[in-house]
Every structure is written in structure tokens, then in C-alpha cells.
Amino acid sequence: MPLIWLRVAVVCYGVGLVYSLLLLSKRGNLLGKIVEPAVGLGLIFHFVSLVESTIQIGHLSLASIHYSESLLAFMAMVVFFVFFVGYRTTSPGIVIFPIVFVLTFASALGQKPVALTSPLLRNGWIFVHVVLIFTGYAGLFLSFGASLLYLAQERALKSKRQTQLLNWLPPLQTIDDIGYHALLFGFPFMTFGIVTGSVLAIEKYGPMFFYDPKILLSFLMWAVYLLLLYTRWTAGWRGRRAAFLATVAFVVAIGAWAANNFSRVHKFIAS
């Protein structure tokens, strides 16, 4: 049953994806009127799906890779909506929607997922750790999206041509605020997520946990995250330089996500 709800959510997010693609291919703001309700509906079905699968298992748990992908997509959408309420613009969606779509689509494929059988995952703290980290990721995604939009808007303004993109995008300052606030918003989550993770890992593996590709990449990502904030506070970096850093952070984040496969600490498959 949760899979069905998730698939409905995927269809709704699909509207968001098409909307983004249309905008990017300069076909204009065709789905502008229905994209908000569509992805909103998607978020509701998504939530239902997550709740149901939790009930099925009987407790809060990350039973599979698919579940965590779904959870990450969910957090990204929640953060997106938080900012949507604040700024009344769907523009960051142009980046967020495709990411969310891919994540939910992958998790809704319904193949026999890689079951995460480690008893560790029954620990409620792990769940807290994951939610914190994912919220941090979501903030980073949003900030990354905003910095790409900032670049696009900056280029449009400098080229001095009246493009559709220029008219559709919110003002430069608003994009900048979204990017910065998304960073500010995500940073404490990311920090506490890493702290809880580290504490749990020390408990289990001792200090040696640190020498693990997944952990190293996560710390690197956190460092880039911090650097983003630091350059912003001290030198007011934005635009091209901030976008560059945000891209680095994003790539490292993807790397950290993928590193599950090489990680000893983070595999969670009972051996």
C-alpha cells in the first residue's frame, strides 16, 4: 500500500519535473498555474506513504535504501515548501523538482529493495541522525538550486536582454536571500546530524570509525558548508564564487551518499 501512495506522489512530482524542463527549454511558464497544487498534493501522498510504511514495520525505522531515498526527497520537499511560504516563489523548484523526482522515482520502482537488516537501525537515535542529516541535505540542495538561479538571473541582467527567464525569476536579492537562508537553515541540522552520527559510531566502533570514506566525505561536506557560510559572512561571497562552492558541496554530498557502498561503518546490512 505505501508503494501505491508513493507512486501517486511520483506522478504529482512529475508535474514539477515537466514544469522545470519546460522552463529550462525556454518553452515558458506553461504549468505555472498547476505546479504548486500538484507538488503539494505529491507531498501529502508522500507523507501518507512514509507513515504507512512506518506503521507496517511497527516502529520508526529505515528498513531499506528505498525508504531513505524517499525520506530524503520528502525532507527536500518540506524545506522547499517552507521557503515557498516565506518567499512565494516556486523558482528554486526548477532545481529541486528534478532531484525530488529522481529520488522518489527510484524508491517507487518497487523492486525488492536492499533490505537494511542491521539491528542497529532499530535504535531511535539513528533515525534522528538520518532526519537531521537529510534536512541538512535539503537545505544544501535548495541553496545550490538558488545559487544556480542567481547565476542565471545575474547573467540575464548583465546581458541586458529581456528574456522570459528574467521575467519569471524572482529578483536577484530574493534569490540571494533564499540561498543564504537555506544554508543557515540547513547548517544546524547538518551539524547536529553529524554529531549524533559520530556519537553513535564512537559508541559502536570506537574512534576508528573516522577512517571511513563515507564519514570522511561527510566531514568534507560539512567543512565546505561551513566555508560557504564563512565566506558569506566575511566577504559577502555570492554569485559565481558562491555557486562554485555550493556545487562543490553538492558534489561531495552526492559522493557521501554514494559512499554507502564502500562504507564499513555505514552499511547496515547484517553480516
Binding site: L157, K160, Q162, Q173, T174, A235, G236, R238, R241
Partner: protein, 441 residues
Amino acid sequence: MNLVLIGVNHRTAPVEVREQFAIPEARLPEAVKELATYPGVEEGMIVSTCNRVELLARTTNGTADLDGLLKRLYGFDPTPYREHLYEYRERDAVRHVFRVASSLDSMVVGEPQILGQVKEAYATARAVGAVNSQLDALLTRAFAVAKRVRNETSVATSAVSVASVAVDLAKKIFGNLQGKAVYLVGAGKMCELSARHLLAHGAQQIYVANRTYDRAAALAKKFNGEAIPFDQLYETVPRADIVISSTGAPHAIFRKEHGERFLSRRRNRPMFFIDIAVPRDIDPEMNKLDGIFVYDIDDLQQVVTSHVADRRVEADRAEAIVQMEVEKFQGRLQTLDVVPTIVSLQEHLETVRQAEIDRVRGRLGTLTPEQELAVEALSRGIINKIMHTPITTLKSAARESSEVTTVIDLVRKLFGLRDARASAASQDDNVVTAAKTGARR
């Protein structure tokens, strides 16, 4: 009436070329005088704004040496700029003047500033005595046409001025202008107007720097702003989010290295530079810096093209009004053209008649009042009969613009009339009264 108009505008010439032709306000009276006293030129005026430079002249016989004139005014050979210069004569010149005054030829169609600028140019030319009768009539009519266009179409009401385009762009950068600081470099009209717009949209602080501190102070006072001595310009500019520059400086006052300094002082917060000066005040290179946006007057034009499209319909109506007015004016002008000839023809024949009557008076002896009247009527009758055909021919020729000069010349030659056209200007008032009396006869 041998009108000729020559100029460059925002459509025919890029800002670099217009800079070459621009005449600073201070030099304008002298330049107009030079134009009006140029050989072959009867009257003239010059309109020089950031979007256009136009010389309007009435020549003696339509063949003034325009290249020589430009060379004398500017001190350089205009030939390399030929492709940017346009030249209108007679009816086309009239139409152009009407269109310019009605703001139909403006970068932003319908913007209200141009009418004021043309009025100012006219006042300057008048003050130095460069315009009289005919250009007077043309410009007075042009102002009336502009008024008609403004009242009868909505071209002007929906007009987007350069200032409001600047506001739109500022909003694209800053979101809303609440609490933003605006820096005016130069205390000109355009600066003032733009500042007013920005304030109306929420901008808070105004700084004004001008070479003449008093003018800066006067303008700053209007906006409750702060006047800043010009030598503190570079230290104080980073305070502002929006900088509007319109000085008459011959070189750029803001260059890339200044921009870099501003940005580091502002910790990379974006700045918006609006350059409405010709020649430009801001080096376009500055636009390449991250976080600095420079728009000059040509760039603003690109932005408004879309707005112009929306107003095409109204603009078409306005064009129709202009066309109608051109016809009307042209008709009146040409009648005016033949009037001096008709008058001098009448005067000439009247003198002949008087002379002949005086000559035979002695031989006629004393005449009764009735006889006296009869002689008068006889001679006058003959004269009127003779004059009838030439006058009707002249009048109908006035309606066919191509014929009018030939017919005038022919009539003058046939009757041995001296060339009254050169002095027609001074006699204008007499001419009109005479024409009226003539018509009554």
C-alpha cells in the same frame, strides 16, 4: 520654406557616435548662433539631448553646405559618420519635428521629457535671436500637435519613462527598494526625475554629488537628502545601492578599478549603476564585475522595446494626428510662400496704375466726382482683370508643392518684381494684413 533638418538619434547612432555630436548645455547658445549665422542659413535651432542631436535650419534657397556647417560646428569632418546622420527636408522635416515634440520618435514612446527639452532648445535659440517668423510658426505648431497627441491618445499616459524603466530594473535586482540608498552624480533634470521615481517606490536615502556644490545642495534639499562635495565622491559612493550618473564629464568617472573598490567596501553587496550621461560617465567594463550592473541609456532602450510594442496601436493613432497636422501646416506654409509674391504683384500694379493716372490727370481737366470714380473703377478693373489669372495660378500652385517655386519665380520674372522673399520675414505682419485686404478685394 527651405527647411532642412539633420541629426543623429538613438536609432541611427550608437551612444559613442552621439557623444561626438552632443552639444553641452553651456555651449548651446553659442552653437545656435553659429548655426543661424552660417552662410545660406536664415534661422536655426539645435536640440541636443542624450538620445538625439538635431540641427534644424531654414535656408535661403535650400542649398546650404551642410557638411561645411557640421565641420564648423564640431571641428571634425562628419563624413565618417554619414551613415548615422539623417537628413529631412521640407514636409519630412516638418513631420519629424512634430514627431519628436510629440514624443513619437523617443526611445520610450510617449515619455514626457522630450517636449520640455525641445521647448528649452527653442527658448535658447530665441534668446540668441536664431529663430524668427517661420521656425517660430513651426515650433509653435509642433507644441500644439504634441498637446493634441497627449490629449487625444493614451501614448503619453501609458508612457514608461527612462526613469521608470530604471525603477523596474532596480526592482529586478533588489526586490523592493525599501531602505535602499540612491546616489545622484550630477544634479541634472534626468537625475532628479529618476530619483523622484525611485523615492516613490520606496528608496530611502538620497545622496547628491555635483561639481557645483550649490546645485547639489539645492537638489539634496528637495529630497531631504545629503549633498556631498565632489572630491569625496569615490569614498561615499559605496554607501549607495543605486547610482545614477549624468554629469557632463568628457571621460568616464567610474572605471573598473573603482567598481572593485566599491564592491570590497560593500562586501560584495550588489550595486546598480544607471548611466544617463552622454558621453558616458561609466566605463562599460564595470559591468563585467560580479555584483555590479551597469545600464547606459542605450541599454535602457533595449529594455523598453517590449513596452513600445504594447503601445503600437496608440502610437499609430498619434502618427495619424501628426500626419494630418503636417498636411495642414504644409498647406498654410505654402500659402504663406505665395503671399509675398501676390502682395508685391498687387503693389507693383497699383503703383503703375497710380503713376499712369497722375500722368494723364492734367490732360483730363477737372472731373466731376462721378467721372473721378469712373476713372478709378476703369483702371482698377483692368488691373484686377490682368492680375486675376496670375493670382489664381499662384494660389493653386501653392497647393501643389512641387510647382510652387517655379511659378513664383516665373511670375516675378514676368512682372519684374524684386525678390521680396529675402525680406519677407521682416514684413511678415504686413504680408498677413495685406493678404487679408487682398482677399477682400
